[in-house]
Symmetry: D2
Amino acid sequence: MAIWDDIIPPEDLKMFSKAKMGGKSSYGKKPAIIVVDMTYGFVDDAFPKGNSEMGWPAVHSVARLLEKGREIGAPIFYSKGAHARTATERGRWKSEKTFDIGSFDPKEYEIVPEIAPREDEVVVTKTFPSAFFGTSLASMLVFHNVDTVIVTGLVTSGCVRATVVDAFSYNFIVVVPEECVGDRGTVSHKVSLFDMHMKYADVAPLAEVIEYLNSNRG
Amino acid sequence: MAIWDDIIPPEDLKMFSKAKMGGKSSYGKKPAIIVVDMTYGFVDDAFPKGNSEMGWPAVHSVARLLEKGREIGAPIFYSKGAHARTATERGRWKSEKTFDIGSFDPKEYEIVPEIAPREDEVVVTKTFPSAFFGTSLASMLVFHNVDTVIVTGLVTSGCVRATVVDAFSYNFIVVVPEECVGDRGTVSHKVSLFDMHMKYADVAPLAEVIEYLNSNRG
Amino acid sequence: MAIWDDIIPPEDLKMFSKAKMGGKSSYGKKPAIIVVDMTYGFVDDAFPKGNSEMGWPAVHSVARLLEKGREIGAPIFYSKGAHARTATERGRWKSEKTFDIGSFDPKEYEIVPEIAPREDEVVVTKTFPSAFFGTSLASMLVFHNVDTVIVTGLVTSGCVRATVVDAFSYNFIVVVPEECVGDRGTVSHKVSLFDMHMKYADVAPLAEVIEYLNSNRG
Amino acid sequence: MAIWDDIIPPEDLKMFSKAKMGGKSSYGKKPAIIVVDMTYGFVDDAFPKGNSEMGWPAVHSVARLLEKGREIGAPIFYSKGAHARTATERGRWKSEKTFDIGSFDPKEYEIVPEIAPREDEVVVTKTFPSAFFGTSLASMLVFHNVDTVIVTGLVTSGCVRATVVDAFSYNFIVVVPEECVGDRGTVSHKVSLFDMHMKYADVAPLAEVIEYLNSNRG
């Protein structure tokens, strides 16, 4: 049973099967965890782009993952957005086009305290969907000799997926613990998980990923 | 009426509306056309990853777009894959893991003749989903002072979407003429069009895009 | 007379001439100015990596350039470093290997007030030599449809040169106003100017660059 | 005694010493070798950009390095240029501006047979100075879990240096075996070696690098 079973029809599955897609990868020996955009702005309904229903459960799952990751010493990276002061910094996002210096709630870009980064963990600030684009994330993963990235956060069909595609393109092995991601739309969520599992990543239960981390303690 | 109307439920639409996503961009003044992976391997059922049902109609639509693009002198770029001779060149694609020097049909990586590149048009060879990743495409768009990219090709939820996300991240205005893209799965196709239209690009009818090109003749 | 005349011997010049290198480019129509790392740490002798002798005169030249750039509305971008809190953020720089949270002078990473960025100008924070690597600079130049970048700052053979090589690789036309750059070593300075002028950029007198900007007012 | 001793004056050295630059890195555990642009066009006087005097000795040194690298199973990557068929593919190189389909000697872009790539070694084709820019080189190094890159080839102040700066920016440990690189100008050669050794890489005798490889056999 996969989360996308109720939405991907058999004729579609047949085409992916013909292409020999999906299947299971072998995880690597040096994992890192990436926590994408788990700021109030995406986690919580109180903000225009937030969805509490999927956001908060994902936060609690990420908290469990981080606990194990820290225990075994896996490097942990966060991404978050920042308030655009000017049109130049904002780019071409199709959401609300306004940006006005001063008038925003800084909480929107604050990582929720339940999974706050520790002093020795790096937070990259980004403008675009992927946590790799316009940041030093790839370089920092190389610095730690990482071969496997566990991608979590919000939202599945947006910044998580873009981060997964880039991680895959840099030839990292990519794992997405299903409970650790969420979206504002259920269909976008499920279909992005399906697409990623077919082509770029292993979508796996959190328990399996924690077990994997457990077996990779340095 | 949008192609995704039968699959995105009202509760999802409500969340995107709350986020003020979707809507219409203003096209720019200097468009380029990108034709992603329209090789036999993706266009035609005869190959494992091909889907004739969506592939060939997309080819015919792209042919119409290219005719107008060439008429007005818009720069045109193609991407295509190449046979991986070694594991190093192949990376971590989850489809069939084999690669054996010699034993493949070169037609798989041949752009279909109906929309073959002309002598003065550039074809970038790529390994990963995005036509930007590991290629000089961004540099060549800058060379032509392009501000708007029209992304076409195969497959919507794979290389097209990855190319759209990167074009958006480079701050190009992105347009996807709906008839000019296709996928191996209908759900992945529709939902990727929806996701892209909400956040990164204008998904528009081919007729509108041709009209836009027509009004941008140098 | 070029600044490198006293250091590049005739036999070397002969080889570059054989390769048909050097020569003059045509500037473009939409210039931007990039000010690389003009923080106290590089400008001023008081800091280990600073060199007042070349730093301060460069500051005054950049001030003149910015005045003209602002007058004609050219987009202006700054880069600067940031204190590395951890080994991960520091990377593999061969200078002093220490980094200790708290114990540094924030002035080191402060852009000198004589050329301070205005509210509407963007400052990118970077870790590596090039102002493009791990930043959104390329995207922001595309956003403004820039075709020509005027690269200034410190140090010529380090972050300026790396920025020039990347700007060139993105296919921007690159201009280096000679008085607007400086280094900690005179030989590194002169030879980098020579190398860049041979291959990637026009090294030109500030007066010529100001005249060019003057003729490009929107 | 360093190769740059006769060209870098004591006052310059004093500034680098004040900055605590230079010094020795610790090599890593998983080295790869990169051979930059060792095609006839750069190796041999017969071509406009070639310099036999430095090119051929570098070829013979690289041959020795490759022998050891292959013996221990280090991944080996080559870069080379390609004939630009159009202005778009050529970019903004300041050397001879012509490009005409058909009229060039393919030997110019042929890697010299003395160090020809083997079937299982990857050659990336590039347009710009760095072997990383617009190629999948970073991804392929990640695929092999490489932590150290040994950069060789032509020319020191051009494509070698740009490759070194990018390798450094991706946080690989960078080593340049002095005998394995060459340039068209002696001053550019020496000063680039100096600059790289101060900031980004260890410039080391070939014998030391071979000894290092010898101690890293899997």
